[in-house]
């Protein structure tokens, strides 16, 4: 018994040291759950077509990923982080503080955010202003005066007489999600800006402007449905009166069950998002730690695979997975920047 315990302890101690000090020979990727489906496809193909090990991809969210990424240099920290928004100045500062100096930014494409309902219900034609009025916490008073009141609208018809007389019921992601950030910024703020007095607020009181435009109502009309977009799709099927907010790739995969609403006259289709005509779309990125290139094997080759025509190009396999590719000029720029490993300009 004693002997067994002792050997067990010895084995464990040696294993611990192996685990702690082994050089990492695979790429470690963290970051956004929106970029995760695309990043994983590239990682898998890269692993299959080269002699390098398949990179490990973690889904931590954009903010969580950048925090890990900026925690330092060395094989305990990730090499690449995915983000569904651009890196913030505060994050660049954090990186610099921890010795992460040269960061290569790669824009990979666009993602559209769909405002969808069940195909059993009629398709809605909305404007960003309708969305803002239906979902914001504070909206301009109905009497036309320049005051803000608690959102009084109960049905879509209250918001805009052209819309159906149905209760406002929207399922969407929680505040921790990048999709929610992007929705607040692009859709809510886009609609909010159409009121001149709120727009004027941006210059005088920026934080109040942001609070007014980004705050989502909390009286039950907006339901936080968690980060699982499949769950939202299932709930929309079960409840044809409800609407859901989720990424374009989920809309594309479930075309037979749900339909995207027309926003500002544009449907969330592949072409409309690629042209920038659909208003609720955002860029997707990943960031590479230049100090790790050449230390962790395979980073340059992974970048080459990701930015290759067959992956990121117009007919590439990422487009098949629902990512909207860059325009040709932007694509060529990205390819040349990646080839020369050009780091971001530091402000």
């Amino acid at each position: 018994m004693k002997k067994a315990l002792l050997t067990g302890a010895a084995v464990l101690a040696s294993v611990m040291s192996v685990g702690a000090h082994a050089e990492r020979d695979y790429i470690s990727i963290v970051g956004s759950s929106t970029v995760y489906p695309f990043s994983t496809v590239v990682a898998e193909r890269f692993g299959k077509s080269t002699n390098f090990r398949t990179p490990k991809v973690e889904s931590t969210g954009s903010g969580g990923g950048l925090k890990l990424f900026c925690s330092g240099v060395g094989d305990a920290t990730p090499d690449i982080t995915n983000a569904s928004r651009a890196i913030k100045q505060s994050e660049i500062d954090l990186c610099a503080e921890n010795g992460v100096k040269d960061i290569i930014e790669v824009t990979i494409g666009f993602d559209g955010i769909a405002f969808a309902n069940s195909t059993e219900s009629p398709q809605l034609k909305l404007t960003l202003k309708d969305m803002y009025l239906a979902l914001a916490k504070m909206v301009p008073a109905t009497d036309g005066s320049e005051t803000l009141v608690e959102n009084p609208y109960k049905t879509w018809k209250d918001v805009n007489p052209a819309l159906p007389n149905k209760k406002i019921e929207v399922l969407g992601p929680p505040p921790t999600s990048g999709t929610r950030d992007a929705f607040a910024e692009l859709a809510m703020e886009g609609g909010c800006k159409t009121f001149p007095f709120i727009k004027a607020m941006k210059k005088t009181d920026k934080s109040k402007y942001k609070a007014v435009c980004h705050a989502v109502r909390e009286d039950g009309a907006y339901i936080e449905a968690g980060e699982n977009d499949n769950l939202i799709v299932q709930k929309l099927v079960a409840n044809p009166d409800a609407f859901g907010i989720f990424g374009f790739s989920f809309l594309e995969q479930n075309e037979d069950k749900v339909q995207g609403s027309v926003v500002n006259g544009k449907l969330p289709t592949f072409d409309n998002i690629a042209e920038g005509a659909y208003p609720i779309s955002r860029s997707l990125y990943f960031y590479v730690k230049k100090a790790h290139v050449g230390v962790i094997p395979g980073i340059e080759e992974y970048l080459a695979e990701f930015t290759s025509e067959r992956a990121m190009g117009e007919d590439g396999y990422l487009a098949d997975k629902g990512m909207i590719p860059l325009t040709e000029d932007a694509y060529n720029e990205v390819v040349s920047a990646v080839k020369s490993l050009k780091p971001m300009a530091v402000k």
Binding site: G8, Y26, Y36, N228, S249, E252, D256
Partner: protein, 426 residues
């Protein structure tokens, strides 16, 4: 005797009916709650089995493909790296193009989307295994794309207008069905592959191996530590304020939400000791923290159940304290301890929350070989698949749940059997 006052016997008889009624009511309540529990279980199992059963079959397209050495740029002496670089996916595309003659780029794309990206890898691995295939024609079942798989298994015959396949694609597929080329087979890849972003290639081998390694670390750590702690606290420790405090806190630990252990693991094992993220080693360490209280508590209960007469008899024959504990008490308490350990391990098997913090919620394709390779575990795999956009992952999610439930049932049955077989009553 008058009617106004009753004898005791009459009183008892009078109340009998009411008391019997109360008893049968209570039985009914009890039966209803058991039935409700069973019903929930039946609904859950029925739902998962009906959804997940189809994950165990996979659609293939049987075809005879010419492995053109000139096109691939390969010959019998090519190295493995050459074979990896060869354009097998182009060969597959060319083959199917010749079969149905699509017209224009758009139709070609529609055709290509019917065949899995894995088809090229199938050919690649065939050639890596046997170089003499180059130049010959090979009869092989190529993997169909997940959309085709879903259509063939579920939607064929009643396509709605919103089907993900176009008229033309359905036309091609129906000719293949008529020719008998399209068929389903047992989905061995589901058990031999690691994770993949293509549902038809995704498997649970990596997750099962990761689970095994993680639980191995957990067991190797938590069993000796838990048993030692239980023995010390029960047999050797003085009964005073300090041991009482420790005892209360072990009971508290058993009730701490599991995500807290993940945070602790992140702070201590990863940030301070520098253990690599996403490995079974760090996962096992965190799950050890989680299972320890369960093992200690059940271990102490098992030691307590050993009758004092056994101890006294051993002392009476001149055994030392150490001998009493290790020769008599421990062997008798071990079955109970093992049962507690198995239940603790079964709990650990179902955990995802603490693993989220230490990077085990990750996309890992390569099957882990040892405890310092990146890996995931089964429940995490289920979580990741449930969040994937591709429809075909829904049934794979349920398929993985069936496997996980299978493991849990086996472990819990083992615990019950062990208790039955080794338990001694005094």
């Amino acid at each position: 005797m008058t009617n106004t006052s009753m004898t005791t016997r009459e009183k008892v008889e009078h109340s009998m009916k009411r008391r019997r009624a109360a008893e049968s009511r209570f039985r009914l309540y009890g039966m209803a709650s058991v039935l409700f529990g069973l019903l929930c279980l039946v609904v859950l199992f029925g739902d998962i089995l009906s959804k997940g059963g189809s994950a165990f079959t996979q659609t293939f397209i049987e075809t005879e493909i010419q492995l053109d050495g000139d096109y691939l740029g390969l010959d019998a002496s090519s190295s493995d790296q050459d074979v990896r670089n060869a354009n097998f996916s182009g060969l597959v595309k060319k083959h199917f193009r010749a079969m149905v003659n699509p017209d224009g780029r758009k139709e070609r794309r529609q055709l290509y989307s019917l065949i899995s990206a894995g088809a090229a890898w199938q050919l690649q691995s065939e050639v890596i295994a046997d170089r003499s295939l180059i130049g010959s024609s090979l009869r092989i079942d190529l993997l169909a794309d997940d959309d085709v798989d879903q259509w063939f298994k579920h939607d064929r015959g009643h396509e709605g207008e919103h089907s993900r396949l176009s008229e033309l694609q359905l036309q091609w597929l129906n000719t293949w069905v008529d020719e008998g080329a399209l068929k389903t087979r047992f989905n061995t890849r589901f058990f031999t592959n690691g994770d993949s972003r293509e549902p038809e290639l995704a498997g649970i081998h990596g997750a099962i191996k990761g689970t095994f390694l993680t639980l191995l670390v957990t067991f190797l750590l938590s069993f000796p530590i838990g048993v030692a702690a239980a023995i010390y606290l029960e047999e050797f420790a003085p009964k005073n304020k300090i041991t009482e405090f420790v005892e209360i806190n072990i009971n508290n630990l058993a009730a701490v939400p599991s995500i807290t252990f993940g945070l602790l693991g992140l702070a201590i094992f990863i940030n301070i000791f520098g253990v690599a993220r996403s490995t079974p080693l760090v996962g096992g360490l965190v799950l050890t923290l989680m299972t320890l209280p369960t093992i200690i508590i059940s271990g102490r209960a098992a030691i307590k159940a050993v009758p004092p007469s056994i101890r006294e008899a051993a002392f009476g024959l001149g055994a030392s304290k150490m001998q009493v504990v290790f020769h008599h008490v421990l062997p008798l308490a071990l079955p109970g301890m093992l049962t507690g350990t198995i239940i603790g391990m079964a709990q650990a098997l179902g955990e995802t929350a603490p693993l989220l913090m230490i990077g085990m919620v990750a996309f890992v394709v390569d099957v882990p070989g040892f405890i310092n390779d990146p890996s995931t575990v089964l429940p995490v795999q289920i979580f990741l698949w449930s969040d994937s956009p591709e429809r075909a992952f829904t049934e794979r999610t349920s398929g993985a749940i069936i496997v996980l439930l299978g493991f849990l049932i086996v472990m819990n049955t083992a615990a019950v059997m062990l208790r039955r077989r080794l338990e001694r009553r005094w």
